[in-house]
Point group: C2
Chain length 346, copies 2
Amino acid sequence: MTRGALALAQKVKLSTIADALGVSTATVSLALRDSPLVAGSTRERIKEHAREIGYIYNRRAASLRTQRSGIVGVVVHDIMNPFYAEILRSIEHELDRSRQTFLLSNHYDKLDKQRIFIDTLLQLGADGVIMSPAIDTPAGDIRMAEDNGLPAVLIARDVEGAHVPVFRGDDAYGTALATNHLISLGHKRIAMVGGTDQTSTGRDRYQGYLRAMREAGLEVRPSWRIAGPRTKQGGFEAANQLLALKDKPTAACCWNDLVAIGLMNGIARAGLTPGIDISVTGYDDLEEAAIATPALTTVWNGQREVGRRAASALLDKLNGQAVGQTQELIKPELHVRQSTGRPVER
Amino acid sequence: MTRGALALAQKVKLSTIADALGVSTATVSLALRDSPLVAGSTRERIKEHAREIGYIYNRRAASLRTQRSGIVGVVVHDIMNPFYAEILRSIEHELDRSRQTFLLSNHYDKLDKQRIFIDTLLQLGADGVIMSPAIDTPAGDIRMAEDNGLPAVLIARDVEGAHVPVFRGDDAYGTALATNHLISLGHKRIAMVGGTDQTSTGRDRYQGYLRAMREAGLEVRPSWRIAGPRTKQGGFEAANQLLALKDKPTAACCWNDLVAIGLMNGIARAGLTPGIDISVTGYDDLEEAAIATPALTTVWNGQREVGRRAASALLDKLNGQAVGQTQELIKPELHVRQSTGRPVER
């Protein structure tokens, strides 16, 4: 019955709408495709009338005749991570303005899941894809998409040899900022908590910490590197590991804000006061960093800027403009709040 | 050039793959559509070979010939809210199992944005939509989608007269649980912080609080209702308003966990200790409720269950099974942690 209704609706002709409103069928057709050639008020009048009489513009059929489907795919590790959510919000804002539809997927760092999504985009004839590539994504996967008419733009993570635009923060510079801030407060035993060496982000953030420690002539003990955590839960659990260390660090440079907030909660649960007993820095400057207890000293990572530039580079590509294929690094900034202070003498 | 490559790729015939692998063209065609009629290992071999030689299965053309597009749309207020993120994760889990693609949008409670998304789904020939409807969604919008072959299932919020399945928690029952818990601890002055009367969720949660207060013979002052906040930031800002009240409440029943965690941060920022000076309850039992400082007493709201049942009801509808059109209320449970205690004598 509903399929029948659909078939019936599609039989309503462009000419029915054209006759009713006293415009040409070409105008109706353009208006239903949101063409700027039709004045905004006329466009709205035509679409309103079309809606009333149950006309459904069939984009499936139309996309076989035109170059663009109006669909952009976005695939990231996990939208439950507010870091990606903030990037996605700004991508969405850009795509909305050019009336692109947003097709989203999480890959959870599984290559198979990412491949199924890209295959789906190719099958749908999507216009392009913005991706924060899964761990170990081969450059060939991205070339395959590009060679089949699906231009790609990368965010947050790089893939060597992919030769497509990449938008991300300067991660090594950012953790060096945080580590130098802790060193300037007098900390000498500084841990690095969270992140993995399997992503470019993880490697670069760890390198920035290492470089700052070495340039200051400070020792870096392997036990002070607590790798792995990427979530609040992970940071919370890492607190016990940190507090049990011999030569316990007086400060922790965390891989991101989620780990830092979780770690602060874990420190508080153990009866210590984060920001006083142990200084903690985050990374990303999520909305909640400023209202955490204590307010989190962190590195602003430009995620809205990353999203905006990535979406706009993709739209430029779709409009046939030349887009550089180099990495664009956004310069991070340190935001000092309450979670860092001088080390407590014991 | 890339469009040329696409055209070329599409010229690779099913028979090329069939000949290379020694199977029939019908088998190739079924395998590329993931038909269960072809054995898993053969299907994978065919898809692998197709990928190698650059064959792109054209779903756009295929969807004109078959009943199903394999696309399900999901539209909610805002994926940045972990409440929806947790529901979406479980919807995604269900859809993955039946190889449906997930098309996501936020409506930010703007009817226009929701309508554009539904129009897009209709134009793409999507199979169905799962929605947490925008404030003031008319039943007619949902009927229009259904009548045009786009079955709908609602989550978290109801729309009167829509006559489609709704999956949500029993909100009035849940806030009554939280309020009664506070009353049993000895609190008499209890505020209700956050939420709006414009959604069924907001109205029901407030009613549950009111009912519990009245049944216990406690006074309900209008100034103790701080409506509006729905985020951590909102809860954080509400702390000052709460602490400035004459006859200051000794406890706050919050509209959700985000508001509760923000409120606790605001109480701590003001130099008081949440859970000791003022008791706080949340709603949803998000992952981070258990690791908050202090660990949050809250109402488990079954969001994973909501997502799972909604996705599975939609899949049942798509498979032609009868699905009841009544509300399915999931029974909430109180999880008592550290953020609630006896009122402090002043």
